[in-house]
C-alpha cells in the first residue's frame, strides 16, 4: 500500500488527541493506584506525572485496540519498582497525619480516620510485590489475568503474592475478626 505522509500525520494526530483525552479520564484512577503504592500524595503524584510523561513519549509503542489503561498501569508499576530499586523516589514516606482530626468529630468519625491511616500504613509495610498485587486487584479492581499481565508475571505468582499480602494486612487490620 502506498504511504501517504500527510494522511499518516493526520491519523497520528487524531490518535494522539484521543489518547490524551483517555489519559485525562484515567488520572483519578492512576492517582489512587499511586497513592496505595506510595502512601502519600506528593510521591504518588510524582509517580503519576512520570507515568504520563513516559506514556506520551512512548505512545507509538502502545498498540491501538489493546487496553490503554493496562498499558499505563504497567508503566506506572515499572516506574514504581525502578524508583524503589534506586532508593530515591516513590519510597515509603511518612503517612499523612491522622491525629489532626478535629476533636469535634464524633468518636466514630475519628475511628474511621484512624482506620484509614492504619490501612495506608499497613500497605506501606508490605513488600512491594505484594503491595502491587493487592492494589491492582483489591483497590483498582482488575481481574487476576489483567493484573498478572500488568505485572508481567504468571497468574499463579499473582495469586500467591495476593494471598500473602492479604494475610499480612488482615493480621494488622482485622485481628479481632480473624481469631
Amino acid at each position: 500500500m502506498e504511504e501517504n505522509p500527510q494522511r499518516n500525520v493526520v491519523v497520528r494526530q487524531e490518535r494522539d488527541e484521543t489518547v490524551q483525552r483517555q489519559i485525562v479520564a484515567m488520572l483519578p484512577r492512576l492517582r489512587r493506584f499511586a497513592r496505595s503504592l506510595t502512601g502519600n500524595a506528593t510521591d504518588a503524584d510524582d509517580l503519576v506525572q512520570d507515568t504520563v510523561e513516559r506514556a506520551l513519549k512512548n505512545i507509538a509503542r502502545w498498540e491501538p485496540g489493546t487496553r490503554l489503561d493496562s498499558w499505563m498501569y504497567r508503566i506506572a508499576q515499572n516506574l514504581f519498582i525502578d524508583g524503589v530499586r534506586r532508593r530515591r523516589q516513590y519510597k515509603a514516606a511518612p503517612v499523612e497525619a491522622a491525629e489532626n482530626a478535629p476533636s469535634v468529630e464524633g468518636e466514630r468519625a475519628t475511628e474511621a480516620r484512624l482506620m484509614l491511616a492504619k490501612t495506608v500504613a499497613a500497605m506501606q509495610e508490605l513488600p512491594e510485590e505484594q503491595r502491587l498485587a493487592v492494589s491492582l486487584v483489591l483497590v483498582e479492581g482488575f481481574g487476576y489475568q489483567e493484573a498478572a499481565d500488568i505485572l508481567n508475571v504468571p497468574i499463579g505468582t499473582l495469586t500467591s503474592r495476593l494471598a500473602r499480602g492479604r494475610e499480612a494486612l488482615a493480621r494488622r487490620l482485622h485481628p479481632a475478626v480473624e481469631t
Binding site: 505522509p5 500527510q6 499518516n8 500525520v9 497520528r12 494526530q13 494522539d16 488527541e17 490524551q20 489519559i23 485525562v24 488520572l27 483519578p28 484512577r29 492517582r31 489512587r32 497513592r35 496505595s36 504518588a44 503524584d45 503519576v48 506525572q49 504520563v52 510523561e53 506520551l56 513519549k57 505512545i59 507509538a60 474511621a112 482506620m115 484509614l116 490501612t119 495506608v120 500497605m123 493487592v134 486487584v137 483489591l138 483497590v139 481481574g143 487476576y144 495469586t159 500467591s160 495476593l162 494471598a163 492479604r166 494475610e167 494486612l169 488482615a170 487490620l173 482485622h174 475478626v177 480473624e178
Partner: protein, 245 residues
C-alpha cells in the same frame, strides 16, 4: 479448612466459575471458621477501598493535567524535534557534515515517530526526514531576505552553506522557526522549534528576530563559512541553489 485459602480469596474476588462457586458456598455453609475468614477478607477489601477510593474525589493537581496537555500534538512535535537537536549537538559539538547528517537522522526519526503538524501544509514527513513543501518550499526557493514583505506569513532569515557545500536557509512560518538545507530531493528541514508568538504578523516582531535558541544553535553548528550577503544570496538563488564548494 475444606477449601484452600486461595480458592476462598478467588471466591471473594469473583474469579470462580459457577461450579467452583457452588463448592465454596457449600463449604461455607458447613464451616464457621471459613465464614469468619470470608468476613475478614470482605472487611479488608472494604478497608482498602475506603482508604483509597477517596482519592478519586480529589481535584486533579494542575501539574498532572499540564503533563497531559503539554504534549499536545503541536507542541509535542516541536518539543521532540528540539530535543533531538539538543541531544545530537550535545554529543557531537563538531561543526562537520557528519554532525549535520546525524542531526538529520535524529530529526527524521523524531518526525517519523510522532509527527503531528501544527500548520498542516508546510512540511512533509519523508523517509529521509522532514521536507519543506508547498508555500514554504516556494519561499525557500525564491524569496530573498533583502526583498520581502514584512507581513508575509513565511519569511527567510539568513542563508549560509553547510559542511557539504549545500545552501541552508533559516525561515519563519506561523508559530515556528527552522532551518532547511537544499538537497537534491528538496529543502530538508533540519531543525524546527516553536516561536513564542503563534501570530507571525505581529508588528512587534521582525523577520529573523524571532529565532529560538535551538535554531540559532543548530545554525551555528551547521555553518561552514559566513552568512551570504544580499548579492551572494541572489546569485545562489538564480543558479538554483546548486551545492558546491
Amino acid at each position: 479448612m475444606t477449601v484452600t485459602t486461595e480458592k476462598l480469596l478467588a471466591y471473594v474476588d469473583g474469579e470462580l466459575s459457577p461450579d467452583e462457586m457452588k463448592i465454596v458456598q457449600a463449604a461455607l455453609a458447613a464451616d464457621p471458621e471459613l465464614r469468619r475468614e470470608l468476613e475478614t477478607q470482605r472487611a479488608l477489601t472494604h478497608s482498602l477501598q475506603s482508604a483509597f477510593d477517596r482519592v478519586l474525589d480529589e481535584p486533579i493537581p494542575g501539574r498532572l493535567s499540564e503533563a497531559v496537555r503539554s504534549r499536545d500534538p503541536g507542541r509535542s512535535w516541536h518539543h521532540r524535534v528540539t530535543e533531538a537537536l539538543r541531544e545530537t549537538f550535545a554529543v557531537r559539538p563538531l561543526f562537520s557534515g557528519a554532525a549535520a547528517a546525524s542531526a538529520a537522522l535524529a530529526l527524521g526519526l523524531a518526525a517519523g515517530v510522532f509527527v503531528a503538524q501544527p500548520d498542516g501544509g508546510d512540511f512533509a514527513a519523508d523517509p529521509q526526514g522532514l521536507m519543506a513543501r508547498a508555500e514554504l518550499a516556494k519561499t525557500l526557493d525564491r524569496q530573498l531576505a533583502s526583498d520581502q514583505d514584512p507581513n508575509a506569513a513565511r519569511k527567510i532569515g539568513v542563508t549560509f552553506r553547510n559542511g557539504n557545500g549545500e545552501y541552508c536557509r533559516t525561515f519563519n512560518v506561523p508559530g515556528s522557526a527552522g532551518v532547511a538545507c537544499r538537497e537534491p530531493a528538496g529543502w530538508h528541514v533540519l531543525a524546527l522549534a516553536a516561536t513564542q508568538s503563534s501570530r507571525p504578523q505581529s508588528q512587534y516582531r521582525m523577520a529573523g528576530a524571532d529565532m529560538p535558541d535551538a535554531i540559532r544553535d543548530a545554525v551555528t553548528a551547521m555553518m561552514a563559512g559566513p552568512a551570504l550577503n544580499a548579492e551572494a544570496e541572489k546569485r545562489a538563488r538564480d543558479r538554483g541553489w546548486v551545492a558546491g564548494n
